[in-house]
Symmetry: C2
């Protein structure tokens, strides 16, 4: 517990003068904290402030005042604002990564839905201050900050792959996961700036976009088809995937869409030759399965039939 | 090794010593250029160097040497390396934005495919040096650089919306476009780092992901269904959308997938839950608000749970 302040009293006066009325809520100034406690407290206070405002609008004085500490005391623990900023970002990164953890139970899209709820909650409470950093336009960006961000992205990536439970994910699948993480990041940053849709919608959409990306990846990589089958077999009608499928079924019932898509599917199912004679004109023939099946009574509604590679 | 001497001779000597054999290819040193020409030339040379290496590995001496100019001459035009870096980034941004321009003709996915070809070509030639900047971990990041990046993103966004030709794009659609741009950015940066798939695949995948995102957006926003119908009607079987549809059709022909997806589609058209003897033991599922009702006349949107979102 080493304070560098020559005089606590003078120091407290200076603090008060610098930031009148900014004492830490409910905390006695100068409460005796251990070295570790003090350090953690300063980081917590800094995180709180840096979460709400860009770094250039937070001063060491603000942090000291909010922590009920002296400015020299803060400097005793951290060489400067940047160090404190990075420490608080590391803390934020750990908190965020912890939110990615989710039991390996239940339909996958529902797990991701719960994770996204916690993620968006974090974005809402901590994002405003870190938005510039994540967008790449922050004065506080550094090798240290980008290491933290990379670490969080990697944690997200690893969690998703762990839940997918695919032993050796292909480069294409990894890329899909990374791209989706970027999508989630950007979308939530955009949301922070404009709040143009309800947060719950965002939560659902991001999960559904993941399901769609996974499906697209499997469409390019036949090796993933079995995994996709068991993924869908575990999903539930009122979960994110089920609702996505229903929305797509409704969309494909809109006049014109199913015909156009069917024409695209059949246009090339005739192998070789100048099959693409009429792009949109001819061939309304309803042949191979369109992406989202329209529900028809005769369709195999054998729900729960163990059709996949069982267990 | 760098000399600040005003003597051009000494300077040239120093340059040669510093970077032997690095003279501008095919260009006479000291060729007389107008002020504007010289400025543009310095930017072009700097862009060339900054495209290949991170800014910290490019010195003013390197730029002077490559431009066949003296170090003081470079300083005469630019106050320092950062200014030259930003000027070359602005040039890069303009070049990149110019590549987004595409005639308003032909199927939309094919237009985007051509644009992505030019974009990825740019990434391949200029990306390596700017990767850190785009990832947010560059020492050269500044308000100036992030303004350039934002400008390029906005150009991409505006071009896409112009081609979609939707008079008043919804916030959801704008978000989709922005998220896809981020996807393209991240995916191409990841590709630069790992080159794990052929570039042509990336080009096709990014376009197909756009088509999928657009479809998903229309699934949530019924107002877009008409636009989506005319989008698909213009597509061709051997274009990116056609191939996507065919790949998905093939995927859905894989045993298990169509059944599982059909179960999801129909599972919720039966009003109350238990009809679908759920794959994962009959359990209450989380009930996020349903965005769109199922398309069966008898089915109320009360799919087994106390839902909010209908009136």
């Amino acid at each position: 517990m080493a304070s560098r302040t020559p005089s606590p009293t003078a120091d407290r006066a200076a603090r008060t003068a610098a930031a009148p009325g900014r004492g830490a809520a409910g905390e006695r100034p100068r409460r005796r904290l251990s070295v570790d406690e003090r350090r953690e407290q300063l980081i917590a206070v800094a995180l709180e402030l840096f979460s709400r405002r860009p770094p250039e609008e937070v001063s060491i004085d603000d942090i000291a005042a909010a922590a009920g500490a002296s400015r020299p005391l803060v400097y005793h623990y951290f060489p400067g604002k940047q160090a404190l900023y990075e420490a608080s970002l590391r803390r934020a990164g750990r908190e965020l990564s912890a939110r990615f953890e989710e039991p390996m139970e239940g339909p996958l899209s529902e797990r991701l839905y719960r994770v996204m709820g916690r993620y968006l909650d974090f974005v809402q409470s901590h994002g405003p201050g870190f938005a510039a950093l994540l967008r790449g336009g922050s004065v506080a960006a550094s090798a240290g900050t980008s290491a933290v961000i990379d670490e969080v992205r990697r944690a997200a990536h690893d969690q998703i792959l762990a839940h997918l439970a695919i032993p050796t994910p292909s480069p294409g699948l990894r890329l899909t996961v990374r791209a989706w993480i970027a999508n989630a990041e950007i979308t939530s940053l955009e949301w922070l700036a404009e709040r143009s849709v309800p947060l719950e919608e965002l939560q659902l959409h991001l999960v559904q976009e993941f399901v769609a990306s996974l499906t697209l990846t499997a469409a390019r990589e036949p090796a993933l088809a079995t995994e996709l089958a068991s993924f869908f077999a575990d999903e539930r009608p009122d979960g994110p995937s089920g609702r996505l499928v229903q929305d797509l079924a409704a969309l494909f019932a809109v006049p014109g869409i199913l015909d156009a898509v069917t024409a695209l599917a059949t246009g090339a199912s005739t192998p070789a030759g100048p099959a693409s004679a009429g792009p949109a004109s001819a061939d309304p023939a309803p042949a191979p399965p369109a992406p989202a099946p329209v529900d028809e009574p005769s369709a195999q509604a054998t729900a729960g039939s163990a059709d996949t590679a069982d267990e």
